[in-house]
C-alpha cells in the first residue's frame, strides 16, 4: 500500500515536472526578426493615429529596396538599370570585359526571354509596383491627413515611374505604337480592375499619367525631410520625363520648369569639384543616401562607374570610358572635358594608369558609401530646352540651354538651337547618369560604335539600326510559364541579326 502511494506520488511529480504544452500559448512562437501583420495591428491598436507609423516605414522600405542587392553583382536595384541604359548605348565604351558583368548588356545580347536580365528588370519594377499597391491599399484615398497624403503621393509617383520604366523596355517607344502590347497593370482594389495580360501602351500610358497627376495632387505643398523622398518637384520632374516620351512638349516644358524651380545648377567651378556621389550636392533633386548599412559594396553602381576605387570599373580594369566620338563633340573650352581622361592631357598619380577617355566624373567615397543620383536640375533644364526646340521655339530653347552652357562652356553662344543640338549637350551633361538607351528609343536613334577612331572594345564595335529589337527585352520566360494571361503568342519579336552592323 505504501509502495503504491509512493508510486502514485512519484508518477504525479514526474508528470508535473515534465509536462509543458497543453495550452495555446505554447504555440505562440515565431521569428522575432521579422514583422508580421499582428505586430502592425498591435502598433495601430495602441495609437489610432499611428497609421503613419506603419505606412511611413513601408514607403521608406521601397526606397531601400531601390538600392538593395537583388541577383548577383550586376543586379543591385534601380541603379543597375540606370547603368545598363548607358551600357546598351554608345555613351560608355568599356575598356575590357573585366569580370564579365554588364558585358552582355554592352553587347546588347541580353534581349531574349530565356536570359536573366529581362527577368530581373521586369521583376524589380513589378516589385516596386506591388509594394506601392500594398501601401496604397492601407490608406484611404480620401484621407485629409497631410502626412498620409504625402506618403500616398510618393507611392503613386514610384508606381507611375515603375510602369514608365517597364513601358520603355518591353515595347517600342510609345509614339506610333500606342496600341502595341505593353505590360500588365496591377492596381489596388479601391482603384479598380487590374489587367494581368499585356495591356496596350495607351493603357499603360494612361495609368502612368494618372499616377503622376494623383501624386502631384497629394504632394502639393508638402516639404520633405530629406532628398531621398519624392516631393512635388521630383514628381513633376519624373512626369516631365514621361511627357518627353509621349512627345507632349507643352507638358514637358510645364513640368520640367516646375521641377527645377527650387534647385539651382552647378557653376563651372562646382562642376569641376563635383564627384556625383553626395546627396547633399547642390543640383541633386532626388537620390539615395548610401550608408555603411545600406551599401552593397562590390555589387554597386560605384563599383562599376568609379575609376578610382577597387571595383569592377576601377582596379579590376573594366574602366568606363566616354565614347571617343562623343568626347570629340566637346569644345576645347568645355569644362566637362575635365570629367574624362583627355588623350591629349597630362596626368599623374592614379590617373596615369587609366586608359584614355576613362571617366573621372564619378569620384570615390571611402567604404563604398557613395550616394546615388536619381535626378538633378540640369536634366530638367535640358528637358525644357529640348521640348521647346521640338516645338519649334528654337530661340527660346537656346536661351534656356544658355543658362546651362554659361557654366559649362564659356565659348558657347548660340541664339537658336535644334532639338538635336540640345540632345548633344544632354549626352555630355548627363553622361553615365543613365539616359543613353531611353533617349535613343524615344528619339528613334540607333547606336553608333563602329566608326573610325572608335574606342569601343573589339567585339562590341558595331552599330545598331534604329528601332531594333536588340534595344528592347522580351517578356521573361518565367512570366509566360507562370502567367496564364500571357502566352508565347504575346511575345515580342526577335531582332534581326543584321540589325547589328560590324
Amino acid at each position: 500500500m505504501i509502495k503504491k502511494n509512493i508510486q502514485h506520488i512519484l508518477i504525479g511529480s514526474m508528470l508535473c515536472m515534465s509536462t509543458v504544452g497543453c495550452s495555446d500559448s505554447f504555440f505562440d512562437t515565431g521569428n522575432s526578426s521579422v514583422v508580421t501583420p499582428d505586430d502592425i495591428e498591435e502598433i495601430e491598436k495602441n495609437d489610432p493615429e499611428a497609421l503613419v507609423k506603419i505606412v511611413q516605414p513601408m514607403l521608406l522600405g521601397m526606397y531601400t529596396y531601390m538600392t538593395s542587392l537583388q541577383n548577383g553583382h550586376g543586379d543591385f536595384g534601380h541603379m543597375s538599370y540606370v547603368h545598363l541604359s548607358d551600357m546598351m548605348s554608345d555613351e560608355i565604351a568599356m575598356h575590357t570585359a573585366g569580370s564579365g558583368w554588364f558585358t552582355f548588356d554592352y553587347g546588347l545580347d541580353y534581349w531574349g526571354a530565356q536570359y536573366t536580365r529581362p527577368y530581373y528588370y521586369w521583376n524589380f519594377y513589378f516589385s516596386m509596383i506591388n509594394n506601392a499597391n500594398e501601401l496604397i491599399n492601407k490608406i484611404s484615398l480620401s484621407t485629409d491627413n497631410k502626412e498620409l497624403q504625402a506618403i500616398l503621393g510618393q507611392a503613386y509617383a514610384l508606381r507611375g515611374f515603375s510602369y514608365f520604366m517597364l513601358m520603355q523596355m518591353y515595347q517600342q517607344t510609345y509614339v506610333g505604337n500606342e496600341s502595341a502590347k505593353g505590360c500588365p497593370i496591377y492596381i489596388t482594389l479601391q482603384e479598380g480592375e487590374s489587367i494581368p495580360s499585356r495591356a496596350p501602351l495607351s493603357a499603360v500610358m494612361s495609368r502612368i499619367e494618372s499616377d503622376f497627376e494623383t501624386s502631384l495632387r497629394y504632394l502639393e505643398g508638402w516639404s520633405r525631410p530629406s532628398k531621398i523622398h519624392v516631393n512635388y518637384d521630383v514628381a513633376a520632374g519624373l512626369y516631365a520625363r514621361v511627357c518627353l516620351v509621349k512627345n507632349d512638349w507643352g507638358k514637358a516644358i510645364e513640368y520640367s520648369r516646375i521641377a527645377r524651380r527650387n534647385t539651382p545648377i552647378y557653376t563651372s567651378e562646382e562642376l569641376k569639384s563635383e564627384g556625383f556621389n553626395n546627396i547633399n550636392s547642390k543640383e541633386w533633386m532626388w537620390g539615395a543616401d548610401i550608408t555603411a548599412e545600406t551599401t552593397t559594396i562590390f555589387a554597386s553602381f560605384f563599383s562599376f562607374i568609379c575609376s578610382y576605387d577597387a571595383g569592377y570599373g576601377g582596379a579590376v580594369g573594366a574602366y568606363r570610358k566616354i565614347d571617343a566620338k562623343l568626347f570629340d563633340t566637346m569644345s576645347e573650352s568645355d569644362v566637362r572635358r575635365s570629367q574624362f581622361k583627355d588623350p591629349n592631357g597630362s596626368y599623374s598619380g592614379e590617373e596615369l594608369v587609366f586608359p584614355n577617355y576613362t571617366n573621372l566624373k564619378f569620384k570615390k567615397v571611402s567604404n563604398w558609401e557613395a550616394d546615388y543620383l536619381y535626378m538633378r536640375s540640369s536634366e530638367m533644364l535640358l528637358i525644357e530646352a529640348e521640348a521647346l526646340a521640338h516645338q519649334g521655339n528654337n530661340a527660346e530653347a537656346a536661351t534656356v540651354l544658355g543658362e546651362l552652357m554659361r557654366h559649362r562652356d564659356a565659348s558657347w553662344s548660340q541664339s537658336s538651337v535644334s532639338a538635336e543640338a540640345v540632345y548633344g549637350q544632354r549626352r555630355l551633361e548627363l553622361w553615365g547618369e543613365g539616359f543613353g538607351l531611353w533617349d535613343k528609343l524615344r528619339l528613334g536613334k540607333g547606336i553608333e560604335r563602329n566608326y573610325s577612331g572608335s574606342n569601343h572594345l573589339g567585339q562590341y564595335k558595331f552599330n545598331v539600326v534604329p528601332k531594333s529589337w536588340f534595344m528592347h527585352y522580351q517578356i521573361p520566360l518565367s512570366e509566360i510559364d507562370n502567367n496564364q494571361y500571357i502566352n508565347s503568342g504575346d511575345q515580342n519579336p526577335s531582332p534581326y541579326q543584321s540589325d547589328k552592323q560590324y
Binding site: 504555440f27 521579422v34 521608406l60 522600405g61 552582355f104 545600406t294 577597387a310 594608369v353 518565367s478
Partner: protein
C-alpha cells in the same frame, strides 16, 4: 592492474557472500573461434550472486540453494542461460550472429522477429570502421532505401539523406534524426561516431507514424553506447593518417601556349564569323588584341602582338615560356588526421555505466580547413528498486572548425577559380623576366590580378590561395546534451516512463575577410562575429502496459504525450577597417556596418498511442495513432492526426514449414499508414512578413514573405510489404516493396514575376508518389571458426511521379527552371533547349525548334542556330537513378581481418555545369577542357563540339549536351586488421589488441574525370569542395 581491475569489477558487481550450497566450476569460450572469453559475467538468475571468468575463461561460483539457472553474458555476445550443474561449459555466440537482434524504434525497442515495419540497421562495428567525422556520411551505400549525397569535403560537414525517394518538393525532405529517443536539432558532427552503438533508419508507416508530425521522410534513430553488465573494460583506440583530395579535377589545358592559340582562335572566329571581318583582318585583330583581351598577361618573352602569328594562329616559335603555375598544386597538400578514443564500460545488475572521451583533429588537404573535436559522454543507468529505474545520459563536446568560403561560384573559392582559371595566370606576381616578385616580408607576392597594367579578367581582386590562408572563418561550437529518465513499474503490467532532455548548442563564428587582399582590401578588412544559441527542450511521458495471456496472446499498449520547444537566438555584428591585419576581433576594427539579433522559436506537441498484439510469436499486429500540433501553422489548421496499421507472419513458426531444413527463417510483413511534414523553412509561414531596414536613420519596411493562412500539413500515405528470410543458415536478407503517396505538398510556388517580390508563395498543392523495391542480401561464403567470409549487397529502385499539378498552372506540363512538372513524370524531369549538333558548314551550335503548319499545329522539328528561336523539350531523362545501393564484403582469416565497402548508382542524369563552362566559345581567362581539341574547325567539320567564338551565349548554352550520366561507383572503405593472439596478451594484462589500416573514399568512377555526381538529388552539380580521401593506421587496445 589486473588485480585492481578484478577487484573493482567484483565491487561494482556487488558480489555478496551468501550461504553457498552448490559449487559450480565452468569454462566460457567463444563459439566463433573456441578461444576463452575473459571477463564474462556469470550471475545466478534472480539473485545478485555472480562472478566473472578468469584469463583462461574459467570460473567457480557458489550457487545458493534456490539458484536454478546461470546467466552468462559478455559485451558483444549473446547472453545465454544455462542450468546449474557442477560443471558447465558455455559457448557464447557473437552478437552479429544473433538472429533476433533488437532494434531501436519509436519510443522503445522491438525484436526484429516481431517487427511489422521496415527498418535498416547499422551497428557500431561498421560505423567505427569508417573514418567519418560526421556519422551521416557512414550511411552512403550502407542500407537499402537510403540515398546519400555529400557535396563537401570539409571535415565535419554533413551528408544529405533521402529515405525511399524524394519526400517533398519545397519543404524539407530530410529525415527526422532522433538521438537516444529525442529529436536532435543540432549538427550531427557534434556526436562522436565512436560513441554510437547503432543507427537504424525507419522507413515505413508502421515504424515512423508514431513520429507523425515529422515522420514523413523517414526517421534515423541513433543510439549511443551504454554500459554492459560484465567486467569493467577499457578500450583505447588511436588512428593516425592523412587526407588528400579524393576527386581529381577536370582534364583541362595545362599549357599556356595552347591557351593563347585557342583564345586567338576564339577571337579570330568572333571577328570572322560574328563581325564579318575578312580572314586576314580577323587574324590581325586577334593577334593585336589577344594579350590585352586577356588582361595584359603574357607569359612568354616576346612582344604582345608577336605572341601568335596572325596568319597561322600558331604561337611564335621563338617565344620562350617565362613561368607556368598550377593553382591546384599550390593549393593542395596532404593534411593530418588523428583520432583518439577512450571508453570505459562497466555494469552490475544495479548500475551500469559507459564513459568515453574522444579527441579528433583533422586537417583537410587545403589551408584553413579543419576540425578539432573533444567529446565526452557518460551514460549511467540505475536500478533503484525492483520497480524503479532511472538514468542520466550526458554528452558534451566542443568543436572548432575552420571552413574556407568555398563551394559556390565565387572567385575566392579555389575549387571554382582553380578549376576555371586559364593556365596563363600565375599564382605569384612576376617581373618582366618571369622572376618572382619578393615582398617586403621576404616572401613571394600573390597575384590578385589588379595591378596597374595586369588586369586578370577572371576573378580580379581575388587570389583564393592567399585569401584562404589569411581569411579567418572559424566556428566554435559547444554542445551539451542532457537527458534524464525515470521509470516506474506498477500494478504488475504497467510501466510509466518520463524522459526529459535539454540540448544546448552554442556556436560562435568569425568571418574575417583579410585586409591583405581581396574583397575587403579597400575597406581595410571586414569581420563578422556572430553567436547563435539553440536550446531544444523535449519531454515525453509514456505509459506502457503489456501482458501475455495463456502463453499465446501477447498485448502491448503504449500511451504517450510529447512536447518540444526549440529556441534559436542569434547576435551578430560586422565591422570594417582593422588595425592589426591578423586580429579578427571587433575591438580591432572601427567602422560598424551591421549589428543584428534574431530569435526564432518552434513548438510541437503530440498525443499518441500504439497497440501491438502477437499470437504464439507467429502472427503480429500493430496499430498506432498520433495527434500533433505544430506552431508552423495557423491555429485553425494546426492539428493533424496520423495513424498506421501493420502485420507480420512468421511463416517458419508454422507446422507446415517447421520441417523444411534449409529454411531457417521466413517472415512476411505489411503496413499502411499516414505521416506528416511541417518542415517549411519559416517559423510562421501563415503570416505576411516584413523586415525592418534602415533608411536614412528612419525605419523602412520591406515585404519579404507572403503568408498563407490556410497552409497546413503535407500528408503522405505509405504502404509497405516485404519478407525477411534466412536460408541454409548462411543466406539472409529482406526484400520489400513500398508505395508512398504524398499530397497537399508544401510547395513554394513561383508566382508570375509581374506579381513582384516576394516572388513565391507557400501552398498545399500537388500530389506525388514514390514507389519502388529494395533488397538487402547477405551471404556467408565461408563460415568456419578460423575463416569467415561474408558478402553483402543492397539495392533500391524507385519511381518518383507527379500525380497532380496546381490547378492554376498549365495541366499539360509546367516549366519550373530546368524541369518540366508533368503528370506522370518525376519532379526532376529535365527540360530545356535541345542540342542538335554542330553545323558542319560553319561550326555553329544548333538547337531543335518546332515547325508549324498554317493552323499552328506542330508538324515537325527543325534545327536553328540560337536558343531564342529554339523550343524547349523534355529530355526524357530525370535525375532519379534506376538503381542505387552498395556492396560490402568482410573476410576473417585467423588473426587477420579485411573488409571492403562500395556504393553505386546506375542511371539518373546530372547537369555538368562546370564542364559546360569549360567548353565555352571563349570567355577571357576561363580555361578549356581538353575535349575542346575536337572542336569544329574547317579541317574538322564533323564533330559535336561547336567552333570557338568569343563571348557567344549560344556555344555552350544550357542544353541536354551537358546532361551527363550520373551512374557511378565509389570505393567507400577498405580496412585491413590484425588482432594479436589472446593468449599472448593475457599474460601482460591486456584483453585484446588490434592493428589496422583503413582507407576511406578511395576512388570514384564517374562518366567524366572531375565530375562528381554525388552532389545533389536534383542533378545539379557545381564547383563543390571535393571529397577527401583518408588513409590511416590505427590500433585498438582493450583492457
Amino acid at each position: 592492474m589486473r588485480k585492481f581491475t578484478f577487484i573493482l569489477l567484483l565491487f561494482v558487481l556487488g558480489a555478496s557472500v551468501l550461504m553457498a550450497q552448490t559449487n559450480v566450476t565452468g569454462h566460457v569460450v567463444s563459439a566463433d573461434d573456441g578461444e576463452p572469453v575473459i571477463g564474462a559475467s556469470i550471475v545466478v538468475k534472480g539473485t545478485t550472486v555472480g562472478t566473472v571468468s578468469d584469463y583462461d575463461g574459467n570460473f567457480t561460483l557458489s550457487v545458493p540453494s534456490e539458484g536454478r539457472t546461470l546467466v552468462v553474458s559478455y559485451v558483444g555476445m549473446v547472453s545465454q542461460e544455462v542450468p546449474v550443474a557442477p560443471r558447465v561449459h558455455v559457448k557464447l555466440l557473437s552478437q552479429s550472429q544473433d538472429l533476433d537482434e533488437v532494434i531501436v524504434v519509436a519510443y522503445g525497442t522491438a525484436k526484429k522477429s516481431s517487427f511489422t515495419g521496415s527498418a535498416g540497421n547499422m551497428g557500431s562495428e561498421k560505423i567505427s570502421k569508417l573514418q567519418v567525422s560526421e556519422v551521416s556520411k557512414a550511411l552512403e551505400g550502407a542500407m537499402a532505401g537510403v540515398q546519400v549525397t555529400s557535396s563537401s569535403g570539409q571535415p565535419g560537414s554533413s551528408a544529405t539523406i533521402r529515405v525511399r525517394g524524394i519526400g517533398s518538393i519545397s519543404a524539407s525532405s530530410n529525415p527526422l534524426i532522433v538521438v537516444d529517443g529525442v529529436p536532435y536539432e543540432g549538427a550531427l558532427n557534434t556526436i562522436n561516431p565512436q560513441d554510437i552503438e547503432s543507427m537504424s533508419v525507419l522507413k515505413d508507416a508502421a515504424s515512423n507514424s508514431l513520429y507523425g508530425a515529422r515522420g514523413a521522410n523517414g526517421v534515423i534513430m541513433i543510439t549511443t553506447r551504454k554500459g554492459k553488465v560484465g567486467k569493467v573494460s577499457l578500450t583505447l583506440d588511436n588512428r593516425t593518417g592523412f587526407n588528400v583530395r579524393g576527386v581529381r579535377g577536370y582534364d583541362v589545358l595545362d599549357s599556356s601556349s595552347e591557351y593563347y592559340e585557342l583564345y586567338w582562335e576564339a577571337m579570330r572566329n568572333q571577328q570572322y564569323y560574328g563581325a564579318g571581318a575578312s580572314a586576314y583582318n580577323a587574324g590581325q585583330y586577334a593577334s593585336n588584341n589577344l594579350v590585352s583581351q586577356l588582361g595584359g598577361y603574357n607569359s612568354f618573352n616576346v612582344a604582345n602582338d608577336q605572341l601568335v602569328d596572325p596568319l597561322t594562329g600558331r604561337l611564335n616559335s621563338s617565344a620562350q615560356l617565362l613561368y607556368q603555375d598550377n593553382w591546384f598544386d599550390e593549393a593542395f597538400s596532404a593534411g593530418l588526421r588523428q583520432e583518439n578514443n577512450l571508453s570505459i564500460s562497466a555494469g552490475s545488475d544495479k548500475v551500469s555505466s559507459y564513459t568515453s572521451f574522444g579527441f579528433l583533429t583533422e586537417d583537410s588537404y587545403t589551408e584553413q580547413s579543419n576540425l578539432k573535436r573533444y567529446s565526452a559522454r557518460t551514460k549511467i543507468d540505475y536500478t533503484i528498486t525492483d520497480w524503479m529505474k532511472a538514468g542520466v545520459n550526458l554528452g558534451a563536446s566542443t568543436l572548432t572548425t575552420n571552413a574556407p568560403n568555398v563551394g559556390g561560384t565565387n572567385s575566392s573559392s579555389i575549387f571554382y577559380f582553380g578549376q576555371q582559371v586559364a593556365p596563363i595566370y600565375p599564382v605569384y606576381m612576376r617581373d618582366a623576366e618571369g622572376n618572382y616578385l619578393i615582398g617586403s616580408n621576404g616572401s613571394r607576392v600573390y597575384d590578385y590580378g589588379t595591378s596597374d597594367y595586369l588586369k586578370r579578367p577572371i576573378g580580379a581582386n581575388a587570389n583564393p590561395i592567399d585569401q584562404q590562408a589569411n581569411n579567418i572563418r572559424e566556428s566554435k561550437r559547444d554542445v551539451v546534451n542532457a537527458k534524464v529518465y525515470a521509470q516506474i513499474n506498477f500494478l504488475k503490467d504497467f510501466v510509466f516512463t518520463v524522459n526529459v532532455s535539454a540540448d544546448n548548442f552554442n556556436t560562435s563564428t568569425i568571418d574575417f575577410q583579410t585586409p591583405i587582399g581581396g574583397d575587403a582590401l579597400n575597406v581595410n578588412g571586414r569581420s563578422t562575429k556572430s553567436s547563435t544559441r539553440t536550446m531544444a527542450f523535449n519531454a515525453n511521458q509514456l505509459l506502457n502496459w503489456s501482458r501475455t495471456f495463456h502463453d499465446k496472446h501477447s498485448f502491448e499498449v503504449l500511451l504517450g504525450h510529447e512536447s518540444k520547444s526549440d529556441v534559436v537566438s542569434n547576435l551578430s555584428a560586422t565591422k570594417e577597417n582593422f588595425f592589426v591585419p591578423t586580429n579578427p576581433e571587433l575591438d580591432n576594427g572601427v567602422v560598424l556596418t551591421d549589428a543584428s539579433s534574431t530569435k526564432q522559436t518552434y513548438s510541437l506537441e503530440g498525443y499518441f498511442s500504439q497497440a501491438k498484439y502477437s499470437y504464439r510469436d507467429k502472427y503480429y499486429l500493430s496499430a498506432s495513432y498520433r495527434l500533433d500540433g505544430s506552431s508552423k501553422f495557423h491555429p485553425d489548421s494546426r492539428w493533424g492526426s496520423f495513424w498506421s496499421v501493420g502485420g507480420a507472419w512468421r511463416m517458419t513458426q508454422e507446422d507446415f514449414l517447421s520441417n523444411v531444413d534449409y529454411l531457417n527463417d521466413l517472415k512476411l510483413k505489411a503496413s499502411f499508414g499516414t505521416q506528416g511534414n511541417d518542415n517549411v523553412p519559416n517559423s510562421t509561414p501563415y503570416k505576411d512578413q516584413y523586415t525592418v531596414v534602415p533608411q536614412d536613420g528612419e525605419i523602412g519596411l520591406v515585404y519579404v514573405f507572403r503568408g498563407n493562412p490556410n497552409l497546413t500539413w503535407e500528408k503522405s500515405n505509405n504502404f509497405n510489404v516485404g519478407f525477411d528470410f534466412r536460408l541454409w543458415n548462411r543466406f539472409s536478407g529482406s526484400v520489400e516493396y513500398f508505395y508512398k503517396k504524398t499530397w497537399d505538398l508544401l510547395y513554394s510556388k513561383q508566382l508570375p514575376p509581374s506579381q513582384g517580390a516576394p516572388s513565391s508563395i507557400w501552398e498545399n498543392t500537388m500530389k506525388m508518389r514514390n514507389s519502388g523495391v529494395e533488397a538487402e542480401l547477405s551471404y556467408d561464403i565461408i563460415s568456419r571458426s578460423k575463416v569467415r567470409w561474408n558478402v553483402g549487397m543492397n539495392l533500391t529502385h524507385y519511381d518518383n511521379r507527379l500525380l497532380e499539378l496546381p490547378s492554376d498552372r498549365p495541366q499539360s506540363g509546367w516549366a519550373t527552371g530546368n524541369y518540366l512538372m508533368r503528370k506522370g513524370a518525376s519532379i526532376y524531369n529535365w527540360y530545356g533547349f535541345k542540342f542538335a549538333g554542330v553545323n558542319p558548314e560553319n561550326g555553329e551550335s544548333l538547337f531543335w525548334a518546332n515547325e508549324y503548319d498554317a493552323s499552328g499545329n506542330v508538324v515537325g522539328q527543325k534545327k536553328v542556330n540560337n536558343t531564342n528561336e529554339a523550343d524547349r523539350y523534355e529530355y526524357g531523362k530525370s535525375s532519379i537513378p534506376a538503381v542505387y545501393g552498395g556492396f560490402n564484403t568482410s573476410l576473417q582469416y585467423r588473426q587477420f581481418d579485411m573488409s571492403v565497402a562500395l556504393s553505386y548508382q546506375i542511371g539518373g542524369w546530372a547537369m555538368d555545369s562546370q564542364y559546360a563552362s569549360l567548353m565555352s566559345g571563349g570567355s577571357a581567362g576561363t580555361n578549356w577542357s581538353k575535349d575542346i581539341y575536337d572542336r569544329w574547325t574547317p579541317e574538322n567539320p564533323n564533330t559535336n563540339i561547336p567552333r570557338l567564338h568569343e563571348g557567344s551565349l549560344d556555344v555552350n548554352a544550357t542544353t541536354d549536351r551537358f546532361l551527363t550520366s550520373a551512374s557511378h561507383l565509389s570505393l567507400r572503405n577498405v580496412t585491413l586488421g590484425y588482432t594479436l593472439p589472446g593468449k599472448v596478451l593475457s599474460r601482460v594484462g591486456i584483453e585484446g589488441v588490434r592493428f589496422y589500416l583503413v582507407g576511406d573514399n578511395l576512388f570514384l568512377l564517374s562518366a567524366r574525370k572531375g565530375f562528381d555526381p554525388r552532389q545533389s538529388f536534383s542533378g545539379s552539380t557545381g564547383p563543390s569542395y571535393s571529397a577527401m580521401t583518408t588513409y590511416s593506421l590505427g590500433f585498438n587496445v582493450r583492457f
